[in-house]
Point group: C2
């Protein structure tokens, strides 16, 4: 059961190009009249029939459409970890679990200032296809801490940090809305000033439990809880 | 803030030996009268003072003891993934999140039949120390599916699988007990017979949500939920 990805959908036609086309035609040797499955990353799953194959694209006709509704929109705002591999693993996991947008931010104590966007987008696409999840998250390249607030449209906004000991657990804080975001700090945590700034912007402080989780583990745990 | 690990606790003395001793004395160059922190993996965190150092051990005297209670006992029973790296990564994450016992089982569709116990125990120890979690899980080497049931002492027992579509979500199934276990199948899932067998043994079928999670992701997600 292979899923292909395409955003080129016009009326009842879907075009596969580039890598998706190569995978479909060259690797899996699909031919005209074969039926395959295509996702658009926005919750739509199509059954299509291949109508023509040229050297650079594969044209298909939609036979069936299934729209998967995701219960809740999740936006994860997170500082990149020093070790890029940890970000990659986390991204694979949260795409499986369910995330709509991932924004990487540079706070005062963030050591890594850049991420490999090409690699992360590739991992997200592959995780979406392998787990038969029809949603591909939007990934925002590293921006400054203060610049992320203009990107947020979630109704519920949380910041997890360890500067204060008595924050309520995220699981006990979430309400019954359908759009939630959480902000996770770097290895050295957010500064008091950053927490203050987020509170002024409508964020609520939360805890992720008694354990001191690594950054990428916090990303996975909070994405899991926000999807409940 | 380095934590050392020892199980050799006699009255008010704790002995560090082998790697822990080398790390303390050779790498971090601690000397007699230095104060360090030691965990026993069972929820006790000690502040100790080094009283003597010999060529093969470091003897310390307990100054303070802090006992951390874990809210709920979690037992994860899981089939090893084909790729050993994925098990290792999962183990690191679940030790951070909180797990008391991890049993690896070989079900009908499990491809990998063995795990590197030495490596897994090392990863668990390192994750425990790095996250300042005072609990080290017991890890059981691969055993046959049917042999695991005699190891289980949890009050609540769940099996997550995708053979049936209308299972209730784990999060809606958990009760207010303090010992819970969950069984996670391999890439090819449990067989109907295996699910039936577990139901006879008092397990309840649950879902982990609409996404089709990988085995190791299911392990992380369910450990997160069982800790809530």
């Amino acid at each position: 059961m292979n899923y292909f990805f395409s955003k080129e959908i016009i009326d009842d036609k879907i075009i596969l190009s580039n890598k998706e086309m190569i995978h479909c035609v060259k690797v899996l040797r699909h031919k005209v009249e074969d039926r395959i499955k295509v996702v658009d990353g926005k919750g739509n799953l199509y059954e299509v029939e291949i109508s023509s194959i040229t050297s650079d694209k594969c044209e298909t006709k939609i036979i069936n459409t299934k729209t998967i509704k995701n219960k809740v929109k999740v936006h994860l705002i997170i500082c990149p970890t020093k070790n890029h591999k940890r970000i990659e693993w986390m991204l694979e996991k949260i795409v499986e679990i369910g995330v709509d947008r991932v924004s990487f931010i540079i706070s005062k104590n963030t050591i890594r200032k850049n991420i490999n966007m090409e690699r992360l987008n590739k991992i997200a696409l592959s995780a979406m296809k392998q787990t038969q999840n029809a949603f591909l998250p939007e990934i925002d390249d590293c921006i400054k801490f203060k610049d992320v607030f203009s990107l947020i449209s979630s109704k519920e906004k949380y910041i997890a940090h360890l500067n204060k000991k008595n924050n309520i657990h995220l699981n006990l804080s979430i309400n019954n809305t359908n759009s939630r975001c959480i902000m996770i700090g770097p290895e050295g945590d957010f500064t008091d000033e950053e927490v203050e700034y987020s509170l002024k912007k409508g964020f609520k402080e939360v805890s992720l439990g008694i354990s001191r989780l690594r950054t990428e583990t916090s990303g996975i745990v909070s994405t899991t809880i926000l999807n409940l």
